[in-house]
Point group: C2
Chain length 199, copies 2
């Protein structure tokens, strides 16, 4: 399959890239500051130019999106709005603008994260945007068939425990290799409208 990976330079993106390349797929990497194609997917103009450069693909994988963690009393409207713009609307626009670029038996796989279903202190903005993406995926699935769409929702990465472990006390972490397998399952499988929870 020809697969585009957005956010390919991030921790999850690199792990997915490695696994899908091992599986023999033809990978196009996209990133804001690195990759085969440069694109900030929160900018719809850049997104449309990206699709012109990339052309047709069989699968779209997104591992992009940063969100501010802070106590709810310290999160500003701007923090929530930035989370929406950079992880929510940006992934939605990736799907909207890519509907005609993905083969009929192709798929989209987005990324969310555990706080939407299992909240943590300081994770309100993350929870909000992850909940948005998961609901979007369920809704989009019934309209874009036969194309498929799923979302991978990982716990804190084992490789990120030094930085983020304190936000997730007692939570099982997930190894990046298993996050990559979650994306593989979505891309090579047949499910649609699913939230793939990890671990």
């Amino acid at each position: 399959m020809r697969i585009i990976i957005v956010g390919a330079a991030g921790k999850a993106g690199r792990a997915v890239h490695r696994l899908l390349e091992q599986r023999g797929h033809d990978i196009v990497t996209v990133g804001r500051t690195s990759g085969d194609v440069r694109c900030d997917i929160s900018d719809e103009t850049q997104l449309r130019r990206m699709w012109q450069q990339v052309g047709q693909v069989d699968a779209v994988v997104s591992a992009a999106g940063d969100v501010t963690y802070a106590p709810i009393g310290e999160l500003s409207a701007a923090n929530f709005d930035a989370a929406w713009k950079h992880k929510g609307l940006s992934q939605i626009n990736l799907v909207r603008t890519g509907l005609d670029q993905v083969s009929p038996d192709g798929s989209f796989t987005l990324i969310s994260g555990i706080p939407s279903r299992d909240p943590v202190v300081s994770g309100a903005a993350a929870a909000t945007v992850n909940g948005a993406i998961e609901a979007f995926v369920r809704a989009a699935a019934i309209e874009i068939a036969p194309r498929r769409i799923n979302v991978v929702s990982p716990s804190v990465f084992t490789e990120s425990l030094a930085d983020f472990g304190d936000y997730f006390p007692g939570f099982p972490s997930v190894d990046l290799v298993d996050v990559a397998r979650g994306f593989q399952k979505a891309v090579e499988g047949a499910a649609t409208g699913q939230v793939i929870t990890l671990p």
Copy 2:
């Protein structure tokens, strides 16, 4: 209890107002173009002025938020952004700015809707913002205790079937009097972090 109802002029808002007044509560109504206090809650400046006018309350009820329904291929980024601004961020800002205005044993009750859990064609923007609000409520609940926060998630209103029934084929509708009871359950009960699904 002293209760502020935002979106009091809408169908759900009027039904909640009626029931909570029957229950003997002291009601302050808020709306964009009617009510005891005028406020567009999507504008944070107006929100802060509203709280100065309203003062302390025991419960905040929100029944506000319009979202565009259209096939996913016709929904623009602006449609998704408007849904976020007018139903998502606006309700989040109502909570953020109201944290110090609600008594310690008080509560917030927001509104979402069925498409986030049971999607319908043309409901992708609605699903997205409802999913955001539901995840925000779960996350906020663990940080704002002892204050409580819940969200009422109704199916299509029986009283709106003439306008919206075609979007929800075979879905059970919910009578507005039962929607009002959902809000009453959240306000007078003790639960927090819950999505109250109706019917």
